[in-house]
């Protein structure tokens, strides 16, 4: 059956991101996503974190994308400590990890929480609302993970 070329891509498989320095290395499951808001956009690798119940961006990202960030702060728990966050909205579109890769359906994430630069090591794709839209299959053994649009 032919598929319409304009139809959003439904399933994405990502390799873990690996970093090596000296005799050390680190790995992280990062998904490529296009963040957009009112004409501004940026393609960003975000940590897939099933332990986070929200999606987090860093303040420099929110500033560059022109997100409308609330003036009120709230406290979020992170790794046993706390951090101050503000609320905003952003559109998130998953993308294949290739130049000009195929893209998925655009989703409005409301709220996305904005943390101060340095408060978190990465921008984070959390469970809410992301795992309502995508099923996650993660294999640390094979260093890959997949996000498939939920039926």
């Amino acid at each position: 059956m032919a598929t319409s070329p304009s139809r959003p891509f439904r399933s994405f498989t990502y390799p873990y991101t690996k970093v090596e320095w000296g005799s050390n290395s680190d790995i992280a499951p990062m998904a490529k996503a296009v963040l957009s808001w009112k004409g501004e956009k940026a393609s960003v690798d975000m940590l897939m974190d099933t332990g986070a119940n929200r999606t987090f961006l860093l303040s420099g990202m929110a500033e560059r994308l022109g997100l409308e960030v609330s003036s009120e702060t709230q406290t979020a728990m992170a790794g046993g400590g706390t951090l101050k966050v503000r609320r905003a909205k952003v559109e998130v579109t998953l993308m294949e990890p290739l130049p000009n890769g195929r893209i998925g359906r655009k989703h409005l994430v409301d709220p996305v929480l904005i943390a101060e630069e340095g408060a978190l090591p990465f921008p984070v794709l959390g469970r809410k609302p992301f795992l309502r839209w995508y099923d996650l299959k993660l294999s640390e053994r094979n260093l890959t993970f997949s996000l498939s649009e939920a039926p």
Binding site: P15, G22, D26, K32, A42, D49, R64, P99
Partner: protein
């Protein structure tokens, strides 16, 4: 004959598993720069395109703008490179 080929592939796969390495057939393609290249930029924002780091720094917006200037017409991807420190999120 075909059975032997399949068996041989399975053996290679098992070998990879025993060594804790992903089998090449299962490794998805990616334009992320090589691990040793990323290791030079730990804790920084990098902008990359087609496995090459185009710009780097501590400010997301400046790195994005610099990369777009350096590779006009192409859209870089930004990554905050893991610093190698332990973290619990």
């Amino acid at each position: 004959m075909m059975r032997n080929v399949i068996k041989a592939e399975r053996m290679v796969g098992n070998e990879g598993h025993m060594q804790g390495k992903p089998h090449a057939r299962h490794r998805p393609q990616s334009d992320t720069p090589p691990a040793k290249v990323l290791g030079k930029y730990r804790g920084q924002w990098v902008a990359y395109y087609n496995r090459r780091v185009v710009a780097n720094g501590d400010n997301f917006g400046k790195v994005l703008d610099e990369a777009r200037t350096l590779i006009p017409g192409k859209e870089p991807t930004l990554m905050k490179v893991p610093s190698g420190e332990l973290y619990v999120l």
